[in-house]
């Protein structure tokens, strides 16, 4: 499955809820304000394990818009919208943690 998270983990509980129920093969894509959770910060340990496994992506355009492209945490992979489409194709059911 592909889980998309579009809110900052500082503001909302959606990333935490996603992490509570994600299975061993699914991946996470951070979009919109969700990319704030991709930056190195006090909340970034939430994602670190999954990122090490290559299972965390962030949308480049949203990262750039928020001025945090130099701060993206290790092992988080950046994709553009074409990459977003590919992730949806590859990972089956899409779950949005809106």
């Amino acid at each position: 499955m592909l889980h998309t998270v579009n809110k900052s983990s500082f503001e909302r509980n959606s990333l935490q809820s996603c992490l509570n129920t994600i299975d061993d093969t699914s991946v996470i894509l951070l979009i919109e304000d969700g990319v704030i959770s991709a930056a190195k910060n006090a909340n970034s340990s939430m994602l670190a394990d999954l990122a090490t496994q290559g299972r965390v992506y962030a949308l480049q355009g949203d990262v750039d818009a928020r001025g945090i492209s130099s701060k993206v945490a290790d092992n988080i992979k950046l994709v553009d919208y074409a990459g977003f489409v590919d992730l949806v194709v590859e990972h089956g059911t899409a779950v949005s943690w809106v």
């Binding site: 553009d80 059911t93 949005s96």
Partner: protein, 133 residues
């Protein structure tokens, strides 16, 4: 692959509609088909033909209209939920007439229909992606 998209928020207030548009455009560019875009909740507000954004900003409604997503019968597959639309003041000509209201505001690239169209989109498509608050 056949995609459908559900949009839960209106234009300019949330990024949802912008993100969904960029996603749809990229999917089409990659050779995929957009079976249907279903506008639900405040998402129905994306269908207004009254929008007048500032000249230096994007026009969210026209962007969708220009994607020109239609089915084999030539009907728009930008579908606005009728129940959500009526309470929020989004009307096409037929609904306006039926309810005795003068005027209407649905852009002709969109059509109003029932929630069954969302379920059908889920059944007919390989993937359904939700964009929301």
């Amino acid at each position: 692959m056949k995609f459908s998209i559900q949009i839960n928020e209106g234009p300019y207030q949330h990024q949802a509609s912008d993100s969904a548009y960029q996603f749809a455009k990229a999917a089409i560019a990659a050779g995929h088909e957009i079976f249907r875009v279903f506008f639900y909740h405040d998402g129905v507000n994306n269908a207004t033909r009254f929008t007048m954004p500032p000249q230096d900003d994007r026009n969210v409604v026209n962007q969708w209209a220009e994607l020109d997503i239609k089915n084999a019968d030539g009907e728009p597959e930008l579908v606005v939920c009728i129940a959500a639309a009526l309470r929020r003041g989004m009307l096409d000509e037929s609904e306006a007439k039926k309810n005795g209201i003068e005027g209407n505001n649905i852009h002709p690239a969109f059509r109003i229909s029932g929630l069954g169209q969302l379920i059908e989109a889920g059944i007919q498509s390989d993937r359904l992606v939700v964009f929301g608050d």
